[in-house]
Subunit: 345 residues, 2 copies
Amino acid sequence: MSSEKEVTIYDLARKLNISIATVSRALKDDPVVSKKTKKRIADLAQEMGYRSNNFARNLRTQRTNTIGVIIPRINSSFMSAAIAGMENVATSEGYNLIISQSSESQEKEKANAVTLFNNRVDGLLVSLAYDTESIAHFEPFIKKKIPLVFFDRTTDQLDGICVQINNVKAAYEATTHLVSLGRRRIVHITATQKRNVYIDRLQGYKQALADQRIPFREDHVIVGNLSQEAGADAATHIRQMQPLPDAVFVANDNCAVGCMIALKQMGIRIPEDIAFVGFNNDPVSTVIEPNLTTINYPGYEMGQVAARNLIAHLSGSSGTSSTNTIILRSELVIRESSTGGKPTP
Amino acid sequence: MSSEKEVTIYDLARKLNISIATVSRALKDDPVVSKKTKKRIADLAQEMGYRSNNFARNLRTQRTNTIGVIIPRINSSFMSAAIAGMENVATSEGYNLIISQSSESQEKEKANAVTLFNNRVDGLLVSLAYDTESIAHFEPFIKKKIPLVFFDRTTDQLDGICVQINNVKAAYEATTHLVSLGRRRIVHITATQKRNVYIDRLQGYKQALADQRIPFREDHVIVGNLSQEAGADAATHIRQMQPLPDAVFVANDNCAVGCMIALKQMGIRIPEDIAFVGFNNDPVSTVIEPNLTTINYPGYEMGQVAARNLIAHLSGSSGTSSTNTIILRSELVIRESSTGGKPTP
DNA sequence: GTGAAAGCGCTAACAG
DNA sequence: CTGTTAGCGCTTTCAC
């Protein structure tokens, strides 16, 4: 069995009676090596099953060709798409991805950051956890000039690229849509105001109300963790409001679904009594009845853009350093949860 | 800014006037080094911001402390849970995970295998793609004695550990459940018979029918890719069957949901006209109306078990080499899609 | 065009 | 308990 020992450039060099330097150069397609020699080396490498040793190379070059990814959870269709997008560009550029989940916890996010730092990733792609407040755990990367790209759940507390949508505008459209259907008592369910996305969505909601001359009411904002259970809890809360709200704008689809299910069980009709708009265009939005009106935005593309920008910084000559933000488009997808019926006065 | 140069064990040794060997040992908590020296070294390392260089270590030890993961898709709650389980044990054992998606394609799976092989992962955790037939792309790992653990979608064509549930039994229970409710014309929707899980589920279905003296009908088996769309297609197919089937057992929840939605649109009542049982206990099963009866099995635990076994092989003294299979329990979760009404004769 | 040689930072004999 | 030393496989000057 010849497959026991790894073959190295020394083996190739010996067999061909040339120096390892030439082999090394040939393998990197260095133009200084003659075409003929290159061919001979490539052929032999192929034949002997040579594979380059990344550690040795990394040790020399001080780079890993690895990109770290920290995301809250992997089991959303949005994140899955985003990761597929990252993988797509990373692979084609010769980078590997190390993916880790923060499970929406700042502590886990911190631990992941340390691990990735120690693994010397060349760059980092991050979508922040719900409860992350301090972003001090990213300081070491900044100090070492390891580029950081935030996507979706971003921050402006740090020097780094951000890839996101215009959440203010999206929320503004969602809310305006509800108003245009005659709704006036619109509840907003969101998460704690630590993440840009929730801050912005609330702002868009407020602004839409203001523009429609509907007074903003603090008690129409319900804050939770946006889980399906949180949606159910919110339903109980909504049920007790006097008068009953006639619409709900939720900052994510899952929570919207939890809330809709609970309300339906209480005998409240959707959208006749209460219209719904969610956020994310998760597949579940077309399973719930009535189908959920929501905001769609491109996960795959966001992943691609984030990765592409990171890699550009990696290979690029230092490049643009100051914070710049890339905005992708989003759109309102109208379904029956908002338009399926006329409101009861 | 002192953060430019990496500090190495040489720096520590020099400052402390001891040898690098001692530093190296102390850093690994080798019992042979005195407590006092260890403390001094640890303190200085901390102070100087020392971090170990994995490449150098890997280059020496020929190990990466990295485990490769190849899965069909990351965006199912089952996979997300499984990965969380793997991360849990991997992290606590000092291993990193490199996760890659095959997107249910053999080609992508192959490419991923090559990449991970070249990255010299210490071991591999795999759940096979739908259409993978040849598993030749795992040969290099076998040859190099890199341990392989298959989970959920496993294979017996290769020497490796398998972690899975008893799919025959689970399908048997699902089918028997439908029969016990008075159903006789039970359709089974599944994927191509390349993966153990689908082969086994079909077998369990057949066996249950046989035990209940219900003749098996080839035309009651619908093969597709188990996507939501495939479910909708199957619905059209089912609609045309004479007489109309009175139950459907689907090999996954997503497809079941697609089928249910389509049938409902055709005016078929669930479960009165057709009862449904799915597989996986995906969150969507409690969103669809009526809620879907399904098979639940522990993703998180499966991930843990798979990772734990892989790591045992890694650290263990060669260990058990022959194929062994670990079976986790699963259970039928009964909901309204099967029991919600009496069948119309 | 090609070769010689010096490390990259760490581990693991082996020798005290 | 601690130190010396020889590499792990590769890249990269600097020569020729």
